[in-house]
């Protein structure tokens, strides 16, 4: 079975057994696209040992732009310059394992297409996207929960893509949330800090740059893409402001944001 995933003009055609492709075609139907020349093959391989752990516990290894994901039960190879990726996996692999591989392929391909997959929660407020980032535990999920009544683009991963003026944030399927809109102009980047009160603080540009690189999954582990990743974030920061949002567990922070950004 073949099905194409498309997010913000970045598309990848999945090709594999219906048992593995169909669930994605159903669950991610909002991101169905036209057939792409980038093919991701999913192959069942009974010759591999049964998986001992989830694939997401395996870190990608890069060599000359190619990426390898290998663990008991899995043999994944990603070759962006040839627009192909393949995951051979034991039939006992879970859909979550396959989704992790697809996410890895997507992160690299999106980056090579001029976009960037961003580990951030995206909330639509006054028609624009507010991206909240920070390491695990910084409060992305909490921010989403406290933003009741607002449209959520994602609670975990956004795709940032350049447009004629500025950047736009795209909802990705790698999240539990399904917003009405798929994309919105990116307005502000906010580094989350749990605090005793709600306030907005400036974020030193050096720290912002480092944190944003740390929040760019997959490609930040590739030495050959790191210089371009730095340059991309520097480019984004020329048109999108960044600051810290110190917040406590109440939705009063939106008033603070409105006061700071009008």
């Amino acid at each position: 079975m073949r099905w194409t995933l498309e997010v913000g003009c970045v598309s990848i055609t999945l090709n594999g057994p219906a048992l593995w492709v169909w669930p994605f075609a159903q669950a991610w139907s909002r991101w169905s696209g036209e057939a792409s020349d980038y093919e991701l093959r999913l192959e069942q391989d009974r010759g591999l040992p049964e998986p001992r752990a989830f694939l997401f516990t395996t870190l990608p290894r890069f060599n000359d732009g190619r990426c390898v994901l290998e663990a008991p039960g899995f043999a994944g190879e990603i070759v962006p310059e040839e627009k192909r990726a393949c995951l051979r996996a034991h039939p006992a692999s879970s859909i979550g394992d396959l989704a992790y591989f697809i996410r890895t392929v997507f992160a690299i391909w999106a980056f090579d297409q001029g976009a960037v997959l961003f580990h951030a929660a995206g909330v639509i407020h006054r028609g624009k996207a507010w991206a909240f980032f920070g390491p695990s535990g910084s409060g992305k999920t909490t921010i989403v929960r406290l933003s009741e009544g607002k449209e959520i683009l994602s609670d975990d991963l956004l795709l940032l893509r350049r447009k004629a003026k500025g950047w736009e944030a795209w909802a990705t399927p790698f999240s539990l949330y399904r917003s009405e809109r798929l994309s919105t102009p990116l307005h502000v980047l906010m580094r989350l800090v749990k605090a005793q009160g709600d306030y907005v603080e400036p974020l030193r540009p050096s720290v912002a740059l480092g944190e944003l690189i740390a929040s760019s999954p997959v490609v930040n582990a590739d030495p050959s893409r790191l210089p371009a990743l730095l340059a991309r974030w520097e480019q984004i920061l020329t048109s999108v402001p960044v600051c810290s949002l110190c917040f406590r567990k109440s939705n009063a922070f939106w008033e603070v944001i409105d006061a700071a950004f009008g």
Binding site: V207, L209, G210, A214, S216, A221, L230
Partner: protein
């Protein structure tokens, strides 16, 4: 533990960018980073695989008008941290 006659160089794959008065040092492999202040940035960029830590400390002591002893202590402590974080590697003597 490093000594003053040791020589360090910036680790392969480490990237850095000046950002206002600070230096962002991005460590390869895990998306980790460190931010160095002006003095830290000067020392870091002196890690060229040729100068000993003592030579760097001497230059620092002259440029910033601090005692040589203090500069040596600070450079050693800083170099150990860089080594620990994977931002620098030790150059083996004779290598």
């Amino acid at each position: 533990m490093l000594h003053l006659d040791d020589v360090l160089r910036i680790a392969p794959g480490v990237l850095f960018r000046q950002s206002e008065d600070e230096l962002v040092v991005v460590l390869p492999g895990e998306g980790r980073f460190i931010v160095l202040n002006r003095t830290g940035a000067v020392v870091f960029q002196e890690l060229n695989g040729k100068r000993t830590l003592d030579e760097i400390a001497t230059a620092l002591s002259e440029s910033y008008s601090v005692s040589l002893e203090r500069a040596q202590q600070d450079v050693l402590a800083f170099a150990n941290k860089l080594l620990e974080r994977g931002a620098a590697v030790k150059v083996e003597k004779g290598g």
